[in-house]
Symmetry: none
Subunit: 226 residues, 2 copies
């Protein structure tokens, strides 16, 4: 499958050249000229990489980046800017950018940096969609948990929770973060709800003892799986 790129750029001439140039190299590029549209298009095409101009009408690149990160923590973001102020650079990395390119840039440089990020992303998350969890496989788009021949459909909440754990695999997540991500708020009742769902997941995942959800009492959970 082609690598999808969301390219947000308001200069039409530059935009078209870069888009075509990237397409020649086998990327699938969606060009958006208006910052306010970026999120909508992002949700539509689910790109692997976002290339964002910083100066944009309606909504600047940094703001977009922050919003994108919330939607998908693992998306790769490259900023492109004519500004050379270093505070912008700082802002760029702070708002969740993975790389920063100054205009004018060469196509080769952009492509190299794109490829670099793709490799990184691949290392971090293998082939997305289907996650290997020990002997299990979790298909986050189908809400399916497979082990051997057995397929178990899991519910929306179960899937969200499992996803949240997977995103923090081999590190710890706080209960609060999970609650905010999965339930949207961390009230007392939702907190007990989380306990219930953890129990369910543990039950689903009990066939492979190497897949573990360890409780960090007073803190959160630590999910580990090969």
């Amino acid at each position: 499958m082609k690598v999808k790129i969301l390219y947000v750029e308001d200069e039409p001439f530059l935009g078209r050249i870069v888009k075509e140039s990237l397409e020649t190299r086998g990327f699938e590029v969606k060009l958006v000229a208006d910052g306010a549209l970026a999120l909508t298009v992002f949700n539509e095409i689910q790109p692997d990489i976002c290339v964002l101009d910083v100066m944009l009408p309606n909504k600047d690149g940094y703001t977009i980046a922050k919003e994108l990160r919330k939607l998908r923590a693992d998306v790769s973001i490259i900023f492109v800017t004519a500004k050379i102020q270093t505070e912008d650079l700082v802002k760029g990395f702070e708002s969740g950018g993975n790389d920063y390119l100054r205009k004018p840039f060469s196509m080769e440089e952009l492509i190299v940096r794109i490829n670099n990020l793709l490799q990184l992303a691949q290392k971090n998350s293998k082939s997305k969609g289907v996650e290997a969890l020990g002997k299990y496989e979790f298909d986050s788009s189908k809400y399916e948990l497979r082990i051997g021949q057995t397929v178990r459909k899991i519910s929306h909440r179960e899937a969200m929770l499992l996803q949240a754990l997977i995103e923090n695999r081999n590190t710890s997540v706080t209960r609060k973060d999970i609650l905010l991500k999965v339930w949207g708020d961390d009230s007392f009742f939702n907190s007990r709800n989380l306990d219930v769902y953890i129990a369910k997941l543990r039950d689903y995942l009990k066939e492979d003892p190497s897949v573990k959800i360890i409780t960090l009492k007073g803190v959160g959970y630590h999910f580990s799986a090969s």
Copy 2:
């Protein structure tokens, strides 16, 4: 502990300025002017980040990078170069570089990119492995303490405390440092709490008398283990 940087640069004037500038920001910088020396110095100081000029006498930056990667796969490498040819950029990433900076660059830009790589590296290597403590083995990501065939699950606090001791193995830690690290504050009650947990760890570790938690009354503890 300070972040250590190996900086290979043959222009003495630039080298000194960058070195001093980085040191002002709290980095520990070793400046090397000769490519052929880079490896030796690398082994000596075990840096967290390497900043390599590409054009160097005796051995160029790309070659150095490849060799460094062989020595330590997880080291972060930033190339710095006056060349603007894009083939160099490609070569840079291919030879194992993590980032590429064109001269002239601003200090801020360098620092931002350094910090970015540090964060990345931390994410990747977070769940570090298994510590040998005399006859025991402590797996900090699984919260397991093993001796012979016996595996004991320990709690989060127990693990944090043990980790804090291990990090200061064969030296002394103050109670205050431990309390801040494990409990977040050093109030009276938490201080007594620490006593309780020290007792637990001593109990867990009593099978091997060479593993010792020695009390330094009025100061802290001294943890020793082969």
